[in-house]
């Protein structure tokens, strides 16, 4: 009797497949006898597992309430419902239980929780989801302040670092501002009121940061800074801090100031504050520097002093932009001076005992298709 039970695939908690397959190979002969003691596997019957639905169509459920206990997913979890480790289906939102079919999985039965009483499931595919907010407002002001100030452990541990960062930023800013202030008062001798000076400093600090940190072009950095100020004025007006006349006045004043400044100061490609150069002036300075570089510092091996001088020439404030500087540096201060430059190759040297300040290099000669050993002065290499 027990053999048939096992073979028919009915649920049996302790029976294993191996046992079944082993038993299948036994040839059974039924005789007209009755075993008195039964068989070992006869008594392994467990109590019922109390499976089945626990709530029914249209019933209200609370979050976490079990809707169905089952073996395998006889019923699939639908909207606002989840499935547990043993395929127990439970609600995650309060609402009304509905059993339904889903057109995307036509052979499955689903159970879901509808958040409103008369809302059918499934929700149409392209309709917005119905969602519950669920968080309650804290009415008590002191409790609210306490809750608002509550930090997660991660945030709390991060505070000292944040303070440090903001301190460093402040310090950097004040340093820069004083430098800018010095530049404006000494080099340009601009007569500005305290308020205007402050505006100017703030403006060029922002432009400097945008250009230096983000690699923005000077023009768009200036536009962005103007926009920032105009935006803040607009917000002040919307808040009621400024009347519309005051707003217009401040706006006009700022535009005047910007016009006045833009003809005197500008920011360099590296973010440094410099004197404004007109387009013609800039072009003539460029030509001048390039010509000097071309005539005096090209096609020869440069000494260290020369290299420093060339570097300074390329970094002349306010003349070249970043790409141009890179190109010039590549051309006049290469990492390794090409072999074709006169004086950069010393032939016929003793590779074992090279003279002082000469570096031995093995090079490939395209013409003879062979390698040969040459010496190269130290100055040929930028890193030496």
């Amino acid at each position: 009797m027990s053999l048939f039970r096992l073979g028919s695939g009915s649920y049996h908690p302790s029976g294993s497949i191996l046992q079944i397959t082993a038993l299948k190979n036994v040839v059974q002969i039924r005789t007209a006898t009755k075993k008195v003691s039964g068989s070992k596997t006869n008594k392994n019957d467990s109590a019922g597992r109390r499976l089945g639905p626990k709530v029914h169509e249209g019933n209200f459920v609370k979050p976490g309430q079990i809707i169905m206990r089952q073996r395998g997913s006889k019923i699939h979890p639908g909207e606002n419902v989840k499935i547990g480790i043993d395929h127990t289906v439970y609600a995650v939102e309060p609402g009304y239980v509905h059993f339904y079919h889903d057109p995307f999985h036509p052979l499955r039965k689903y159970v879901g929780v509808s958040l409103k009483k008369n809302l059918p499931l499934p929700t149409p595919h392209f309709a917005p989801r119905v969602r519950r907010f669920g968080y309650e407002l804290i009415e008590d002001p002191s409790e609210a302040v306490k809750e608002e100030q509550h930090m997660s452990r991660k945030e709390y541990l991060y505070q000292p670092k944040l303070d440090e960062l903001s301190k460093a930023r402040e310090e950097n800013k004040s340093n820069l501002l004083s430098k800018f202030n010095e530049f404006i008062s000494k080099e340009l001798s601009l007569e500005l009121g305290a308020k205007d000076l402050n505006l100017t400093l703030e403006r060029y600090y922002n432009v400097h940061e945008l250009v230096k940190l983000k690699g923005m072009s000077v023009e768009s950095a200036e536009t962005q800074t103007t926009y920032n100020y105009v935006h803040s004025l607009k917000l002040a007006k919307a808040r009621g801090d400024l009347s519309s006349e005051e707003f217009e006045d401040s706006l006009a004043h700022y535009h005047d100031l910007v016009d006045q400044l833009s003809k005197k100061i500008t920011v360099d490609a590296t973010g440094a504050l410099t004197k404004y150069l007109s387009a013609e002036e800039k072009a003539s300075r460029k030509d001048e520097i390039i010509e000097k570089l071309e005539t005096e510092y090209s096609n020869r091996v440069l000494s260290i002093q020369d290299k420093i001088f060339v570097g300074d020439l390329i970094a002349t404030p306010g003349v070249f932009d970043v790409a141009e500087r890179e190109d010039l540096a590549k051309k006049y201060l290469p990492l390794v001076v090409p072999l074709t430059v006169p004086g950069s190759v010393i032939e016929n040297i003793d590779a074992r005992k090279p003279p002082k300040g000469v570096i031995v290099q093995r090079i490939f000669d395209e013409a003879t298709r062979s390698t040969r050993v040459v010496g190269r002065p130290k100055e040929v290499f930028a890193t030496q």
């Binding site: 609402g95 409103k116 907010f133 669920g134 968080y135 407002l137 922002n206 536009t223 926009y227 490939f364």
Partner: protein, 392 residues
């Protein structure tokens, strides 16, 4: 690399082509791909040229002894050796493709002539589309164009050229589009705001006022941003891949579908930013600070207010939608609260072509931003979610 045998077959082909050659000789003599801005029938833009002359030289003429110009390191350049016979084979291939391109250009010319005399609107549309397609196929295998598209940053490509747009579109579809659609679906932007999206344009968003590097570059869809990083209106790039002849008008909406609604214990949608009648085209494709400063008032119908999530109100989504307009819109007064985006789109006959999303939750900068915008102090909710049902 193609082997020697293939090389031989190439030359066999060359011989076979000789008969046809007389026919196309006049085209070949024009040297299509190195012919720019001329008054003849082939009017090619300068931007189809490789923009670095030394690399152009080393690509189109034989490899020089000093090595390829694209390798900047001197010793690496000397150490580099090209594959055997690549120059000869390339020359043959180039001639073949160039002749083919010449024939296509001849075809384009024919279609352009037809376009001049065409009157039927459908026919004109068809002709324009055909010409665009042909322009792409005439340039898509041009090595200079390939070089520009492969090695130069996408922002430097001239988007007025159909071939660059096609290449940009392929690149967009292979990554950015998939990321965007994945995030829109995962974060339920569709269908919580609009039912679906058939993406046509590449929408990119950034907040240029930020001084921090991590918040000033283009926002990846779905990113969580702090309130101070979004305190000013975003710069929005709308890259169209089809030809836009005169300026096309666009509308942009930013909505927050996660505003807590305590009356129903559910959520309502808030309109955070509204732009309409923004004229853009293939090249001028960005709504940036400069444009906002100059004529922002003209096309802003709802000023920007950033999302300021209150304490414990969980993540909120800023859903940005871009629409193509059929004509100029006149939008009256729209309420910010309880905004129904589906009804808005319906009434104004808008056609959604792109979307973007970023997320925000409560952080320490929310208070400052609230002050700036005069929004008053934020509410505070309990940290643990309650079990009260929706109020019907």
């Amino acid at each position: 690399m193609l082997s020697r045998i293939s090389l031989r077959r190439f030359s066999v082909l060359g011989a076979a082509k000789a008969a046809q050659k007389a026919e196309v000789d006049w085209i070949a003599s024009k040297n299509q791909w190195s012919y720019f801005n001329d008054e003849s029938y082939v009017k090619r833009s300068e931007s189809l040229k490789l923009n670095k002359p030394e690399i152009r030289e080393s690509l189109l003429s034989n490899s020089s002894e000093s090595g390829p110009a694209s390798i900047e390191n001197y010793s690496q350049r000397l150490a580099y050796h090209s594959p055997v016979a690549i120059d000869e084979t390339f020359k043959m291939a180039y001639e073949m493709l160039e002749t083919d391109a010449g024939l296509i250009y001849k075809n384009i010319d024919r279609f352009r002539a037809k376009l001049k005399t065409a009157t039927d609107e459908k026919e004109i549309e068809f002709l324009k589309k055909t010409i665009d397609k042909l322009l792409v196929s005439a340039e898509i295998s041009n090595p200079e164009v390939l070089y520009n598209a492969t090695f130069n940053p996408a922002s430097t490509l001239d988007m007025s050229q159909p071939v660059y747009r096609q290449l940009a579109k392929e690149k967009w579809e292979s990554y950015d589009l998939m990321i965007t659609m994945q995030r829109l679906e995962q974060l339920h932007v569709i269908p919580d705001t609009l039912p679906t999206l058939e993406p046509k344009v590449d929408v990119k968003v950034k907040f240029p006022h930020n001084l921090e590097e991590e918040f000033s570059s283009w926002v990846t869809p779905g990113e969580i941003l702090p309130a101070y990083a979004v305190a000013q209106p975003p710069t929005i790039q709308i890259q169209e891949f089809d030809t836009v002849e005169s300026k096309q008008l666009y509308s942009v909406l930013i909505v927050n579908p996660d505003t807590p609604d305590l009356a129903t214990n559910s959520f309502s949608t808030t309109l955070q930013y509204g732009l309409a009648n923004v004229p853009l085209d293939n090249v001028d494709n960005v709504i940036d600070t400069k444009k906002l400063l100059e004529n922002g008032d003209k096309f802003t119908f709802k000023d920007y207010v950033p999302l300021v999530p209150e304490k414990n109100a969980q993540n909120q989504r800023a859903c940005l939608w871009v629409f193509k307009q059929n004509g100029e819109l006149s939008i009256g007064d729209v309420a910010r609260e309880n905004f129904d985006i589906r009804a808005f789109v319906e009434t104004h006959g808008l056609n959604a072509v792109g979307a973007h999303v970023w997320r925000q939750h409560f952080d320490r900068s929310v208070e400052t931003v609230r002050e700036q915008y005069g929004l008053g102090k934020g509410r505070v909710f309990r940290r643990v979610r309650g079990t009260k049902p929706i109020i019907e």
